[in-house]
Amino acid sequence: METLEIHKSEHVFAIELKDITIGYGDKPVLRDINFSVPIGSCWSVIGPSGVGKTTLFKLITGLLSPMDGKITILGLDFISSTNRKKLRGKIGYIPQNLGLVANLNVKANILCGALGRTPLIPSLLGLHSPSDLENAEIIMKLLKIDHLKNKKIYTLSGGEKRRVAIARALLHRPQILVADELLSELDAVTATIAMEQIKRMQFEFGTTVILIEHNVEAALKYSDQVVVLSDDGMVGAFSSDKIPSVDFIKEIMTAE
């Protein structure tokens, strides 16, 4: 990850949001959002359903432009379309609907994670580098989906699909990984294994991880810092080890 090293020396923040207002059409969903996520850290965005968590996810992944304010990703102004193109492949994401290719099998879906670094002609012939193939096998074993590798996605259960999407993101090794409701539909054991692997990627490659969650316990357990959203907007960013209890977060989330 040479590119990451260059970026690291230039700036400290992976994501910087300044006075951001986002919404659909001319109707704002979130106003005055301000926070900066340092490179290599793991942050969570939590809040009750309908406060705009997925809207924020769309903003960070470039699927939605802000109505107002400034967003900088890896030191580049993310509103400019040239910079968005430059950053393509560096921001990995796991959307709520996972974005898997239903008619490809599990292994092919996971290997799609390596497309950004595979030369065009071999990738069109379905060829991948030995290291990517080996890594894909290891990740599949860790997430316990190796027995499903030749199965088409549409034959899998919700939890299995989620594991495939996580495996694809792990093989991708992006500089920033944004996951929307990653831990829902996963049993506690699989969630722990998945998060362990994501954490390993965070430490080995300096990946910045953003978890968009409504499960407060999981968010506090895995992240360094939590951004709390309520119906009135952003409440604040809290260091997860300084939060007295889960109830404290639940209270400020629902406070009028």
Partner: protein, 273 residues
């Protein structure tokens, strides 16, 4: 939806189904009277046709020589349809990818759509006529005509399929750093594969019928034979040729629909429970 964006600008004024029906009926009957069409339904012409059929068409001529030439022409028709469909697939696929608004920017897909619709505007019979004039009589002109028409027709079906694909997997692969050609290879083709195969089978069925017509302008196949039988008043042989054609078209349509059904997406039932 991105899909409907281009159609949203063309909007008819809101009207009830009944008023639409009245307007349509009025226009139809006005055209019918305007064309003095009712005279074709006169008793004399119907009786004349029936007399012609009973006197000259029956019994069909199953002479071995006639059968042999019909079988040869019919095989040629099927070959024209097959070759035309085959080459049409290869010509239509790149054009349809370039015409899909979900895959290419406006300045690319608008001109390519125009090319496809321009090809479709000209019927296969006229394409055949143009190629007969340019390259001479024979099945080669028929093959060219069917290839060109298939390109226009299949191209439209394909780009509409591509545009109908859910955008989430395309977006996800973009985020993974995949390029446009990789997205076509890993999302567009696998996700629309079954529809593409169904369309190709449908196109072949359509082309078998089209190939039997284009012979009328000298582009080979059974149409050419039918035209000769009419010109030389061999109506009983023409009836035999029509019976052969009917049997072949019915068999191909039946097999085609069975084959298309087997290519339906297996997840289709699951989604519709």
């Amino acid at each position: 939806m991105i899909l409907n964006k281009s159609y949203q600008s063309i909007r008819l004024p809101k009207m009830s189904f009944f008023s639409l029906f009245v307007i349509l009926s009025f226009l139809t009957f006005w055209s019918l009277f305007n064309l003095n069409y009712l005279r074709f339904f006169s008793r004399i012409s119907i009786a004349g046709t029936l007399e012609l059929i009973s006197n000259y068409f029956f019994p069909p001529n199953f002479d071995p020589k006639v059968r042999k030439s019909i079988e040869f022409a019919l095989l040629e028709t099927l070959q024209i349809a097959l070759i035309g469909t085959y080459f049409g697939i290869f010509c239509s696929l790149p054009l349809s990818i370039l015409s899909a608004n979900s895959l290419t920017p406006k300045f690319v897909h608008i001109p390519f759509r125009f090319i496809l619709s321009a090809i479709r505007t000209v019927p296969s019979l006229i394409w055949a006529l143009l190629f007969v004039i340019t390259f001479g009589l024979g099945p080669h002109s028929g093959i060219l005509a069917i290839t060109v028409y298939t390109t226009g027709f299949l191209g439209k079906l394909q780009y509409e399929t591509f545009e109908g694909l859910p955008s989430d997997s395309i977006q996800a692969l973009k985020a993974l750093g995949a390029g446009k050609i990789q997205i076509v290879r890993y999302v567009v083709l696998p996700e629309s594969g079954n529809s593409l195969i169904s369309q190709i089978i449908f196109m072949f069925e359509y082309n078998v019928r089209a190939s039997s017509i284009i012979g009328f302008v000298g582009a080979g196949g059974i149409g050419f034979l039918l035209q000769l039988y009419i010109a030389y008043f061999h109506f009983s042989a023409m009836l035999t040729a029509l019976i052969y054609l009917l049997v072949v078209v019915v068999i191909i349509d039946f097999l085609g629909s069975k084959l298309r059904a087997s290519f339906q997406d297996p997840s289709y039932d699951v989604l519709n429970i």
